[in-house]
């Protein structure tokens, strides 16, 4: 474990020294500033609204739920970008550049090197997505006195979701070159999100095939199931028409996928990392 921590520390120092974290912090500050502007403007514009006529809608919950859905989507997207760029060349890319060989010949297992890279990327991405989400929650609360139904499920889902992406990217880096891996992971990410939207359409139009396909996709790429679960948990206690509208939000299908997703996502990450270790172990450098 000490070796894995040594490798993780080295990778983290690289992220700091290459100013990756500084750039991310600056750009994220920009996003949060825009989010704050949008949140205050949105809630201010609601103040002139009275209760709706025919269909009773809780505008504050609608605005708060939609804004936090946006925050969750952006946090996940930026977290995935960060996860991919921190790991996309971890094996083949670093080997092609000659960075990996001096480390691999040390009496450290190749699996340990992968675990070190997983720990390093997770140590950046998990606090990042959780931090961005929680700051967005604070901004939303300050702007419109809106608090989501749950903090733990969305934040935990984001955190575990980016860990699954880190594991997938490490597997990709053992099999593919840097560019091909980056493209592959982003396409998988897009497939997951499309699957969520597909399920939403299927549910509303009552097309079982679409709903089933969406469920299968979201479990195959668990970050999507975790995201759907978190999105659902944000507004789980908002009922009536408002709840239905919020669940139809533009950021993917909000759906409770059950508690089994947590152990599944952990097992999935371990299995993917094990596959990466096998691929790395068999690779001639």
């Amino acid at each position: 474990m000490n070796d894995a921590l040594t490798v993780a520390g080295h990778a983290l120092r690289e992220a700091v020294r290459r100013k990756v974290l500084l750039v991310v912090a600056l750009l994220t500050t920009g996003f949060l500033a825009l989010y704050a502007l949008a949140a205050f403007e949105a809630f201010n514009s609601l103040e002139g609204f009275g209760p709706s006529g025919i269909v009773p809608i809780d505008e504050r919950a609608l605005a708060g739920g939609t804004l936090l859905g946006l925050a969750m989507f952006v946090a996940l997207f930026l977290g995935v970008v960060l996860a991919v760029f921190l790991t996309l060349g971890a094996v083949r890319g670093d080997a092609e550049r000659g960075l990996l060989q001096p480390l691999v010949v040390r009496p450290v297992g190749r699996t340990t090197l992968l675990i070190g890279r997983l720990l390093a990327a997770s140590a950046v991405c998990v606090p990042y997505v959780v931090g961005v989400f929680l700051i967005a929650v604070l901004i939303t609360h300050a702007a419109g006195d809106f608090t989501p139904s749950s903090l733990v499920v969305p934040a935990g889902g984001l955190a575990l979701g980016v860990v699954t992406v880190v594991a997938a990217s490490l597997l990709g880096s053992s099999l593919l070159g840097t560019t091909a891996n980056g493209i592959a992971i982003f396409m998988i990410f897009a497939t997951g999100l499309s699957g969520g939207l597909m399920g939403q359409i299927g549910d509303e139009l009552e097309v079982n095939g679409l709903s089933t396909a969406s469920s299968v996709i979201s479990w195959l790429v668990p970050f999507e199931a975790l995201y759907q679960n978190g999105l659902h948990a944000l507004t789980a206690d908002i009922g009536g028409v408002t709840g239905v509208i919020v669940e139809l939000g533009p950021f993917g299908g909000a759906e409770s996928v059950g508690g089994g997703i947590w152990p599944w996502a952990i097992a999935w990450s371990v299995a993917v990392l094990a596959l990466a270790a096998v691929a790395f172990g068999r690779r001639d450098l």
Partner: protein, 280 residues
């Protein structure tokens, strides 16, 4: 005495392309063995198998008795790759400290300073890799390979980016390693370097060992050149032992003799005879 590197019937195939076939080789403690061969001969593959970067297809390779590539073998091995890079953002001190931790070396600051001094980088511990010349990075790579008192050092083209001064530093360092009982396998295209420092030379071509031996045994005699009053005479078949007789005969025949030089072949001649002659 157990060889620090023992290679027996080693073979390696990439897909259907053979890279090494039935290679046998040994490096004894304190022995400096030069590995020569044309591009694509399999030299780097052999070195990479010895340090665990590449898996052998057949045969046995061991480092001080431990299977090559095993954790215990890697703990005894220092390696400098032909194409390597250290992170540009890291200081040379940090590069060495990272490798000390991974090699479980408890040498600390004293070891880092001693290694930097040994490769001619004393006082450069705080320098970032990205500000170093290629030659300085290569010397840092050699320092990295010597962390943790390895018993076997594998150097793949260690002087390719060095100026003459840097090459001299590395030559002195290699002699120092010999004296310390460390076995060295030196893969290089620089025949003069190999000839100067190596105890033994192994020439590989087409994945097979085509010849091996001490440099002085591989270099064939090149005859005798005699400077006389009639000009320079070349006697290609003459040997050192023939010189007194030849001089006596020339003087007796009234020819003035101003100088005699015994010509010996070079390692380059031996290399070309082994490789080009074989190809031809």
């Amino acid at each position: 005495m157990t060889a620090v590197l023992s290679v027996r019937a080693l073979s390696k195939t990439y897909g259907k392309t053979p890279a090494l076939e039935a290679v046998d080789l040994e490096v004894a403690p304190g022995e400096l063995v030069g590995l020569l061969g044309p591009n694509g001969a399999g030299k780097s593959t052999l070195v990479k198998i010895a340090c665990g970067l590449v898996r052998a297809t057949g045969g046995e390779v061991s480092v001080a008795g431990a299977p090559a590539g095993s954790r215990s073998a890697r703990a005894l091995t220092g390696y400098l790759a032909e194409l390597f890079r250290f992170p540009g953002w890291a200081r040379s001190e940090e590069v060495l400290a990272l490798h000390q931790r991974l090699a479980r070396s408890d040498g600390g600051q004293a070891e880092r300073e001693a290694l930097l001094a040994r490769v001619g980088l004393a006082g450069e511990g705080g320098r970032k890799v990205e500000t170093m010349s290629k030659g300085m990075q290569q010397r840092l790579g050699i320092a990295q390979a010597l962390i943790g008192d390895p018993q076997l050092v594998l150097l793949d083209e260690p002087t390719s980016a060095l100026d003459p001064g840097g090459r001299r530093t590395v030559r002195d360092l290699l002699v120092g390693l010999q004296n310390e009982g460390i076995g060295v396998l030196l893969n290089s295209h620089l025949l003069s370097e190999i000839e100067l420092v190596c105890d033994r030379v192994v020439i590989i071509d087409g994945g097979r060992v085509v010849t091996e031996g001490r440099p002085e045994d591989l270099t064939a005699p090149g005859g005798v050149e005699i400077e006389t009053s009639d000009g320079i005479r070349r006697l290609p078949d003459a040997r050192r032992e023939d010189v007194p007789r030849i001089v006596r005969e020339l003087v007796a025949s009234g020819t003035e003799v101003y100088g005699v030089r015994v010509v010996s072949g070079t390692l380059e001649d031996a290399y070309l005879a082994a490789v080009v002659g074989r190809d031809g």
